[in-house]
């Protein structure tokens, strides 16, 4: 007869490998710890791609539901975070494609984004926050491409294929985004 120990199992302290192993074996409590631990980063990532919409929560919830089904495919628990991010990327891209951008991208993006940057950027408390501000002021398509490339680790071709855009358009959007971001970040050592 198994007598449960007095203290609850300290799952909150468990490393990802232990949690992934337990969750893959069907332990939903271990999975809940994974959701709480990685949920905020996945939401931040989805928000970068989708903007601040209700879709962010849906995408991240769908991501974790998919992850539960596929956990036994994850060979190396050390890659849990990037594995989850890939699922967020796919699901976010699906939503972006469903939005059906009718307007011409070049027209859409030609507005001068520098005019919309917050003036108090220099008083932001960290370089990362400053970058976050710069990105959120980018035109949507530029921000999506930049995020997939620099945070999601996508190649140019993968971005083009995912967003159903010509490769040359993706390169153009990234070139503009990169120029703006590096210029705005010049003061941040």
């Amino acid at each position: 007869m198994i007598v449960p120990q007095q203290d609850p199992v300290p799952l909150l302290q468990a490393d990802d490998r232990t949690l992934v192993g337990r969750a893959a074996d069907g332990d939903s409590q271990a999975f809940a710890v994974i959701v709480r631990r990685h949920g905020p980063v996945m939401r931040a990532y989805a928000r970068k791609l989708l903007g601040s919409t209700d879709e962010v929560d849906d995408v991240v919830q769908d991501t974790f539901i998919d992850a539960w089904k596929r956990l036994s495919d994850l060979r190396d628990a050390a890659t849990l975070r990037s594995w989850l991010m890939r699922i967020v990327s796919h699901k976010s891209v699906d939503r972006i494609r469903a939005r059906r951008y009718h307007d011409d991208i070049d027209q859409h993006e030609i507005e001068s984004p520098t005019a919309t940057f917050p003036e108090n950027i220099s008083v932001r408390r960290s370089r990362e926050n400053a970058l976050g501000q710069v990105l959120s002021a980018l035109p949507e398509r530029q921000r999506q491409c930049w995020t997939l490339k620099e945070i999601g680790g996508y190649s140019y071709d993968q971005i083009a294929e995912s967003l159903a855009l010509p490769s040359s358009t993706v390169r153009g959007l990234l070139a503009r985004a990169r120029r703006i971001v590096t210029k705005e970040m010049e003061g941040w050592e």
Partner: protein
Amino acid sequence: MTPPVDPPTAPEHDDSRLDGYTLDQLSDYLDVGMTPPNPDIDSSAACQIALTSLRRVRAASALLLDAEADDESPPGDGWVERILNAISLDFHAGRSIPVAHPSPRAVITTTEGAIRGLIRAAGDTVHGLLVGRCTLDGDITTPGAPIRIRVDASVFWGQQIPKTATQLQEAISLAMSNQTELNVTAIDVTVHDIYRP
């Protein structure tokens, strides 16, 4: 100066050349780990300044999500609950394991997932250790077939690993013999980590 790389066709690539290179070409150069070395870029002050900027942005990008996650309100119970509800019918049952019954007309089975749950529960009775992945090697669908159990575990600081691992083996062995008909021939424990205080 002639650019050593063919310029891309889009006009926006052309308006900010750095000793013949665009920011994008420099970014691509960083992507490939600056190998093979390009002496033109490596000896150009303008390129080096731009590369420093790109590296700075990359460093910030690597930490950006964590910084923003810190500002996220923690996932509410309701939000987590919705995920758990959605997965609640998917038990990760695995293979079916026949259970002997005196009546030939009765077919009773348990599942691999249930056995793993038993192993986990047994492991959780052992102080100072957390059970991770459990694997059942062998043909569990055939009654009496030899089964080897492999358990991944992590141990808390200050525990004697051999002693704790032995306790885990004993707890699992007891649970298996009391509650299953599996012919367990070995229980391998791998301690993959120690939690430091």
